[in-house]
């Protein structure tokens, strides 16, 4: 296939902060976006914050200055309702000015409660209806393999989302076609909307399902930065060798970082107002550091006054 292949981004774009501060910043931004909207997908956005922090701390080769370049790595947030966390990441990397998030969910905004690739730079595909994203990612991974530029494709899916049959259609295709450049990450926060995933529809053992569909499976702690990085490195090695696609079955906690709501399906959507927001920001704030120096323009971190 004759496709122009520009030289690829030498390294992944990086956040303006240390890893820990980056994750805390994502969480803080999620809370502030919810404050704008008067409502937020706290549980699902906070459970995947550390996964997003890992992916966008140099692993994904993306270029905020040239967001649409063909040979970039791609992320499909199939559980699109967690996009407030992804917006935080993309803003920090410089895909768009963070202040645009003031319009989050407001009339005419580009930043809805599900991500839109036509409106927001850095969003690789629009999502919102669960179950679609892995198929999209398969298409991207097939294209990357055709181009031969080594670009990787990541899809983040929810554990409840695994109930959708289309996930297994895509998993079956990727397994049978040995799409080594495809990485699926299952955010196993053990809840969906109606309750815990165990109560609603128990899909454990999750790893066995993926293995039976021909994937290389790793089960990791989805909040442990080192564990995530190590798993990403092993995926990279597997991709270089060519072989099965990889899935990270990541154990996480819904609402991670806000003790009052952790692990609760009730906080799929909700609102932390006034004093509750203040408490939550404080709990995060204790862990927020100043921006690291390895970026030209360190930007101020949101302060807590006023909440």
């Amino acid at each position: 296939m004759s496709i122009d292949t520009p030289t690829r981004p030498p390294r992944g774009a990086s956040p303006t902060r240390s890893r820990e501060a980056f994750a805390a910043h994502i969480r803080r931004t999620v809370l502030l976006e919810a404050e704008i909207a008067g409502s937020g997908h706290y549980g699902p956005s906070l459970s995947c914050a550390d996964l997003l922090a890992a992916l966008y701390s140099g692993f994904l080769r993306v270029d905020p200055a040239d967001a649409d370049r063909l040979d970039r790595d791609r992320l499909v947030l199939s559980k699109g309702h967690a996009c407030s966390a992804l917006y935080a990441v993309l803003a920090d990397l410089g895909f768009f000015p963070a202040e645009e998030l003031r319009t989050y969910t407001r009339l005419g905004t580009a930043y809805g409660d599900h991500p839109d690739m036509k409106k927001v730079a850095g969003i690789d595909f629009s999502s919102g209806a669960l179950g679609h994203g892995l198929s999209i990612a398969v298409g991207m991974a097939v294209h990357a393999r055709l181009r031969g530029d080594g670009a990787r494709t990541v899809a983040i899916v929810g554990d409840g989302e695994l109930n959708e049959g289309q996930i297994w259609e895509a998993a079956g295709y990727a397994g049978a076609n040995r799409l080594s450049g495809l990485l699926a990450i299952v955010d196993v926060n053990t809840v969906c909307v109606d309750g815990t995933t165990r109560e609603v529809l128990d899909y454990e053992p999750i790893g066995d399902k993926w293995a039976a569909f021909g994937w290389a499976v790793e089960r990791i702690d989805g909040h442990d930065a080192d564990a995530i990085d190590a798993a990403l490195a092993r995926f990279e090695a597997r991709h270089a060798a060519g072989g099965a696609p990889t899935v990270l079955v990541a154990d996480t906690v819904a609402g991670k970082g806000i003790p009052a709501i952790e692990g609760m399906a009730e906080w799929h959507i909700g609102y932390l107002g006034g004093s509750d927001l203040a408490t939550a920001l404080e709990q995060l704030g204790t862990r927020v550091e100043e921006p690291t120096d390895d970026h030209a323009a360190p930007r101020p971190i949101a302060t807590e006054e006023g909440h």
């Binding site: 009339l107 839109d116 919102g128 109606d194 909700g270």
Partner: protein, 367 residues
């Protein structure tokens, strides 16, 4: 599925969680169906991980063994329903309309409609009522998707009273029924008693003589308010009819009503191609009624915003509907492909709202 939801240690009165603390309506589709199930052993219900969001939660609380929790698998939910119905059950399966109609259309078509089984699909949060959840959650093509399927009944209640009336009015239909519901319990009321809504017969909500406004579901209350405003100001005398039964379409009744007016305006929370107005136009054409009919609805995927803002933006609130009805009365353009709610109207609403938004919560900075 446990009905008890945990409550959180929160201190601020403005905080709420998904359903627990936000409060849950005492009367809802779940309690309507649970009452019905008390009387009728055929009744079952189910959802695809949206039991709370679609206001069905009273059903599993009261009839746990007659409830199907399918997880996030709408096609399977509706397929299971067909299997249940083939054994004599009358299952009511609820999810958001976007996932009930478009994602599972062939299940409805093959397994409910072709087999003509009494499955009831409840699609909630229709049209643009999901607001800033965005296009994936807007169900603005569902009437179009469903309209061609033989044997399928489609009803669109304007409020909870109408929902109960239409559930009870269709419970013994041998074939499948699709319920197109608005946001569930949260819309303004239109009716006081279930006797006002009879399956198959349009309900005249306001009686006038100048212009016939046709509405259905979530737009009925706004159409009614528009009529009241136009009448109060002495501007126009408008009839509002609630076309809650979309299929089979009551063509003769609509044609008869239309023939008594100067023009028809169809208000729809749906794209105009394939929506309610399409049925109205074809009915008037087929029955040779020469009254001009205007379709007032969506023409493209919607933008994002809070639901009430979106309805205002698209001229689907009372003010917008009143404006469009007046324009029909004033201009009566012969080319009715041109929308009467214009780009300029939308820009005005957007600018006003953005100006108001700019003043909100100045303390929040994202950098």
């Amino acid at each position: 599925m446990p009905l008890e939801r945990r409550t959180t240690v929160l201190t601020d009165p403005s905080s709420y969680d998904h359903e627990g603390r936000a409060g849950y309506p005492t009367r809802s589709i779940g309690s309507i169906l649970a009452d019905l199930a008390d009387e009728d052993p055929r009744i079952m219900a189910g959802s695809a991980d949206l039991t709370w969001s679609t206001f069905l939660a009273d059903f599993p609380a009261r009839h746990p063994d007659r409830f199907i929790q399918a997880g996030i698998a709408e096609r399977n939910l509706l397929g299971i329903a067909a299997g249940l119905a083939s054994c004599g059950a009358v299952p009511y399966m609820s999810t958001f309309s976007a996932f009930a109609s478009m994602q599972s259309l062939d299940v409805i078509r093959n397994d409910h409609a072709y087999t003509n089984l009494p499955v009831r699909t409840i699609g909630t949060h229709t049209g643009i009522s999901m607001g800033y959840f965005g296009s994936s959650h807007h169900a603005i093509e569902d009437i179009g998707a469903l309209r061609s399927i033989p044997n399928l009944t489609v009803v669109s209640p304007a409020d909870l009273v109408a929902t109960e009336a239409l559930i009870r009015g269709t419970v013994d239909l041998p074939g499948p029924v699709y319920f197109r519901l608005g946001r569930g319990a949260s819309g303004p009321d239109v009716y006081e008693t279930t006797s006002e809504v009879v399956f198959g017969e349009p309900t005249v909500v306001r009686r006038g003589s100048d212009i016939l406004v046709v509405a259905s579901g979530i737009t009925v209350h706004a159409a009614r308010d528009a009529a009241d405003a136009l009448r109060a100001d002495g501007r126009l005398d408008v009839t509002v009819v609630d076309l809650h039964t979309i299929r089979p379409f009551p063509a003769q009744a609509v044609a008869d009503l239309a023939a008594q007016h100067d023009a028809v305006v169809v208000v729809e929370d749906h794209v105009v191609d394939g929506g309610l107005g399409t049925s109205v136009l074809t009915a008037l054409a087929d029955l040779d009624v020469g009254v001009p009919a205007y379709r007032h609805g969506l023409h493209d995927f919607a933008i994002f915003g809070p639901p009430t803002h979106l309805y205002r933006y698209y001229g689907l609130d009372a003010e917008g509907i009143a404006t469009v009805v007046e324009r029909v009365s004033d201009r009566a353009p012969r080319d009715r492909t041109i929308p009467l709610w214009e780009e300029a109207d939308r820009s005005r609403v957007l600018a006003e709202q953005q100006a108001a938004d700019a003043l909100r919560k100045p303390e929040i900075t994202f950098a």
